[in-house]
Symmetry: C2
Subunit: 291 residues, 2 copies
């Protein structure tokens, strides 16, 4: 939250662009009374190359998977695409922005259809984080295989029930650390509260396996790994301990919005960081390099 | 959700009773974009004895504790009381109702104060559940001591991030079972997704300890246990396994709204049930007895 409001736009399925100053949601909406819904977020850039919503298809596909896992009737992807087109046409703020899709189950106490909308919000400046962040691990309390046969735990589902994620970020901030990273109760690094994890080691790029761990499948990491393989850099999935990370060649928190954030310190231990490598990874997925 | 809308009323802090058909919340409210807020629920009865909000003080105290744990600036309790008084005066539907308090952190992208409101909603008929429910255990994935030193996991905080609770209820319903009961990864019964747990064994009433388990402190169980001790029935906190429950003298899921729901079957095993005991427990906390 900044001291002044950033530029922001609201568009609602079935209605188009509407005034964001007018309340949208019922007090009885399950999205707020139960956190019962899902979301996804896409980076928008508006520059000399025009307006672009990055990896839009992939994020909409993930949103549809989240809705299916919650047994919420998902709007047709074409409806979302149409709403994005209308919204981008109305968006006139240069620079980076966050396009967020939200889908709630609808009203709690009366028959209702799901509610779907998107917001576009001017991004805060991520330049400092893109040069490097400090991080601390926080125990998520769940084993790295806890989600294997427990679909009700909603592993890998991007629900709007993010209070623990928000609390983890608050805990890190309260301790003067930039970022939290969840670790499993059996000691493995999982993901950040709003980011995925990439580690460079043994001449490969690695990320956390999603099966069993509950970790969200990162659209940006998938794109990064596809680009890496095209350049003959091998990729893989593996569980790393914090001690493994201390010996790694590099470590990044990866977010569709913020990009590749190099972790330069984990739980007080310095992590190896080569800014040139971060620049390569960032540019491979459409983010600016670092100086 | 019923096929027709129940009677419902909305009142907002600082505004009083307003039309619930008019949207209240911004699309950018953290309550919906992050499930970042808390709630509590109180049973309202309107009968020959007048209108009553049961254990109102205790629920408002718990709401204030939830807000403090989330570091949300809580409205003065007196403001909530005033809003409840105004709302009950406007409530004219006889029978049972649910008074729900919701407090969100406010807007995500612009400076804002927390948003606080209450709804009163006509209750569905709980008579069948009050005579007996079937239940199944679902692994919560967390050890019974997982919350001991992990405040970011928000144990015992009644957040609106309830997607897993809703998914657990859906899982039970999909399997043809009335209620879900979470068990810890080390095998102990914890609580229901929207209820606490009471077991009768060894001439005592027992409930799940809240310390370390993440279990919500139940207002209704506290009131029940105070009443029990007045009648020389001992009470205590202990962790039970499902196998312990099969041998118990009785087991109840306890909710401020629904009352004492006797569990008559757990994971396919019959649980001992004496309707006369259930009636005594129900009446001790203001609920109707069962025939």
């Amino acid at each position: 939250m900044s001291d002044t409001a950033p530029a922001q736009l609201l568009a609602v399925l079935g209605r188009g662009v509407v005034d964001i100053a007018v309340p949208l949601l019922s007090a009885d909406d399950l999205g707020v009374t139960r956190g019962d819904g899902c979301f996804d977020a896409v980076r928008v850039t508006y520059d000399a190359r025009g307006k672009r919503a990055h990896y839009l298809e992939e994020h909409l596909a993930r949103l549809a998977r989240s809705a299916a896992a919650l047994q919420i009737e998902a709007p047709a992807t074409a409806s979302w695409h149409e709403l994005v087109t209308t919204s981008l046409a109305a968006w006139n703020t240069p620079g980076e922005a966050i396009l967020k899709f939200v889908l709630t189950r609808g009203l709690e106490s009366a028959p209702s259809a799901p509610v779907g909308y998107l917001t576009i919000t001017q991004s805060p400046d991520h330049a400092a984080a893109r040069r490097g962040v400090t991080a601390m691990t926080l125990d998520r309390g769940l084993r790295s295989d806890a989600f294997t046969e427990a679909p009700w735990l909603l592993g890998g589902v991007k629900t709007i029930s993010y209070a623990v994620n928000v609390a983890a970020r608050r805990e890190a901030a309260n301790r003067g650390v930039d970022e939290a990273i969840f670790r499993s109760s059996d000691g493995f690094l999982l993901e950040g509260p709003t980011s995925g994890l990439v580690i460079a080691a043994d001449d490969r790029l690695w990320t956390t396996p999603t099966t069993g761990t509950g970790v969200l499948a990162s659209v940006t990491i998938a794109a990064l790994f596809a680009a890496a393989r095209q350049h003959e850099v091998a990729t893989g999935e593996a569980l790393f301990t914090p001690a493994d990370a201390y010996e790694a060649d590099g470590m990044w928190l990866v977010s569709a919005i913020r990009g590749m954030l190099p972790v330069v310190e984990l739980d007080g231990h310095a992590i190896h960081h080569d800014p040139a490598v971060t620049s390569v990874l960032a540019k491979a997925t459409g983010f600016p390099g670092i100086a």
